[in-house]
C-alpha cells in the first residue's frame, strides 16, 4: 500500500481487498468486552478538521483509540487557523509535534495532496472539498460486502447531488476497482461535466434503474452548497429523486439501502425507508470505525516507510 490515502484511485484491487479483509477481522474487536488492541501504542494521530464534521471525526478518533494511538484533535474554529495561519504552517507545527498520521478534512479539493508533501507521516483524506472521501467509500464497500458477499458484478445505484459529492466520486472509483457496476442518477444540473470519463453509467430516471439495483445509495442534498438554481423546488426534487415508500416497495427483496449521513428525512429518503431492516445506515456508522481501524493499522502498523519531506 502507498504511504498516504488521498484518493480511492490510489488503491489497487489487492490493496482494497486487504483493507476490507483486515476490517473483517477487526470487526470482531467491537464485540469483545475489551475493545482495544495495543498495536499503535506510542503513535500519534492528528485529526485536522477545517470543516465541521462530527461523525467522521469521532469515527477516526474511536478507530485510533481502539488501536491505542494517541489522538490530538485540531479543529479550525478557535485555533491558530482562525488567526490566519496557512495550511503549510499548520502542517509544520504538526510535524514538529511528531504526528505519525494526519487525518485531514478541508473545504478545498486537493488540500490533503498538498499536505502530504509537507509532512513526514501518513496523510489520510477525510474529505476534501468536492473531491474525495476515500474512507467513506471503503466503509460503504465493507458494508455492501458484509450484506451481499462479493461485489463482483453487483449493481450499485448512487442517487442525488453527484456534483458536490466527494462520497460519490470515491465510491465510483473504488467500486469500479472492486468490480461492481455503478449507475449514477441525478438531475442533469447536479452531475459534473466530466462524468463521461468516470467508470460508471449515468441515468436521469430513478424508476427505471431501481428494479435492477442490488444497492441503492442515497446522497444528502447539501443545502449549504445549493447556491444556484440546481432544481426548482425541494418538493419536486424529492418527488423525482427521493426514495419514498412507493419506490422502496418496488425494490427487489434483497436490495439494500444506504446513506452516508447525515440524512434529511422526508427529503431524499422517507423516514420509514431509513428505519427499515434493509437500510444499513446505522451499520455504516459502526463499520466506519472498523474500516478506519484497518486503514490506520495498514498505514501505521508496520515499519516506518521513511517518507521524505519534499
Amino acid at each position: 500500500m502507498k504511504r498516504h490515502l488521498i484518493s480511492a484511485a490510489d488503491l489497487s484491487r489487492d490493496d482494497a481487498l486487504l483493507i476490507l479483509d483486515t476490517a473483517d477481522e477487526l470487526a470482531k474487536i467491537s464485540e469483545r468486552s475489551i475493545k482495544k488492541l495495543p498495536t499503535l501504542r506510542g503513535r500519534t494521530v492528528v485529526n485536522l478538521f477545517f470543516e465541521d464534521s462530527t461523525r467522521t471525526r469521532i469515527s477516526f478518533e474511536a478507530a485510533a483509540k481502539r488501536l491505542s494511538a494517541d489522538v490530538i484533535n485540531f479543529s479550525a474554529k478557535g485555533s491558530s487557523v482562525s488567526k490566519g495561519e496557512s495550511l503549510k504552517d499548520t502542517a509544520l507545527t504538526l510535524e514538529a509535534m511528531g504526528a505519525d498520521a494526519v487525518v485531514i478534512r478541508h473545504g478545498a479539493s486537493g488540500a490533503p495532496h498538498r499536505l502530504a508533501s509537507w509532512v513526514r507521516g501518513s496523510v489520510v483524506n477525510a474529505g476534501d472539498g468536492t473531491h474525495e472521501h476515500p474512507t467513506q467509500a471503503l466503509l460503504d464497500a465493507f458494508t455492501m460486502r458484509r450484506r451481499l458477499g462479493s461485489l463482483d458484478g453487483r449493481r450499485v445505484t448512487i442517487v442525488g447531488d453527484i456534483l458536490h459529492s466527494r462520497v460519490a466520486r470515491s465510491n465510483v472509483l473504488l467500486l469500479a476497482t472492486l468490480g461492481a457496476e455503478v449507475t449514477l442518477v441525478a438531475p442533469p444540473t447536479l452531475l459534473p461535466v466530466t462524468v463521461d470519463s468516470w467508470p460508471c453509467e449515468v441515468s436521469y430516471d430513478l424508476d427505471a434503474v431501481l428494479p435492477k439495483s442490488d444497492v441503492v445509495m442515497m446522497l444528502r442534498v447539501q443545502r449549504e452548497r445549493m447556491n444556484a438554481a440546481f432544481f426548482p423546488t425541494e418538493r419536486e426534487y424529492s418527488r423525482r429523486y427521493g426514495l419514498d415508500r412507493d419506490r422502496f416497495a418496488r425494490l427487489r427483496g434483497e436490495t439494500i439501502v444506504m446513506h452516508p449521513g447525515p440524512m434529511n428525512r422526508g427529503m431524499e429518503i422517507a423516514a420509514d425507508v431509513a428505519d427499515s431492516p434493509r437500510s444499513t445506515i446505522v451499520e455504516q456508522v459502526a463499520n466506519g470505525v472498523t474500516t478506519r481501524m484497518a486503514v490506520l493499522y495498514l498505514l501505521l502498523g508496520g515499519a516506518d516507510l521513511g517518507g521524505e519531506i519534499q
Binding site: 500500500m1 486487504l18 470482531k28 502498523g301
Partner: protein, 193 residues
Amino acid sequence: MVSSLADAVSHARGGARAVLEGPDINRALIRISHEILERTKGAEDVVLLGIPTRGVHLAARLAAYIRQFEGRSVPVGSLDVTMYRDDLRLRPARALGRTELPAEGIDDRVVVLVDDVLYSGRTVRSALDALNDLGRPRAVQLAALVDRGHRELPIRADYVGKNLPTSKSEIVKVYLEENDGRDAVLLLKGEEG
C-alpha cells in the same frame, strides 16, 4: 513460512534434511493428545487454540485424536497474534490471521495454545497478551510440534512433538497436508551455512 510443495522439493534437492516426514507428524500428535488427556485428567475443561496458520490445523488434528481416544469433543479455535507482536515495526504491516474463539469462551478453562515451531518465544508472549484481552483462562499450556531452542524469553512448552537442536542460521519449515499438500518438517541450512 508460506511455501509451496514445489518450493519444498527444490529445498530437498538443495541439501534440506527431513526431520519428521509423513506419519511421523501424526505419531507425535497422537502422543501429545495422550499427554494432554493425562495432564488434564481427561481434557474436561480444555480449549485448544491454534496460532495461524499451521497451528490451527495442528489444533484440529489434536482435537480429532482426543475425540477418538476419549470420545470427548474439545472446543477448538484460532488465535491470531499479529496485532500483539513486538516486531510489527520491523516489517511492512502484514495481513491479519483469523481469531475464532469457541462459543464456550475461554473463561475458567484450560487453554492449550498450539503452534508449529517454538523458537524465540515471542509469538507465545504475544498470544498470552492476546488471551489477556479475551478472557481469563484457569490455566494456559503450550503445545508445539517442534521446539528448536534459542529462547529469548522465559517461556517453555508443556507438550513437544520433537526437540530439534538447531543453529540460529538454520531454518525450520513445517509442511502440513491441509496447507501444503504433504506432512513434513525440514531443516534447511541458512545462508551462511
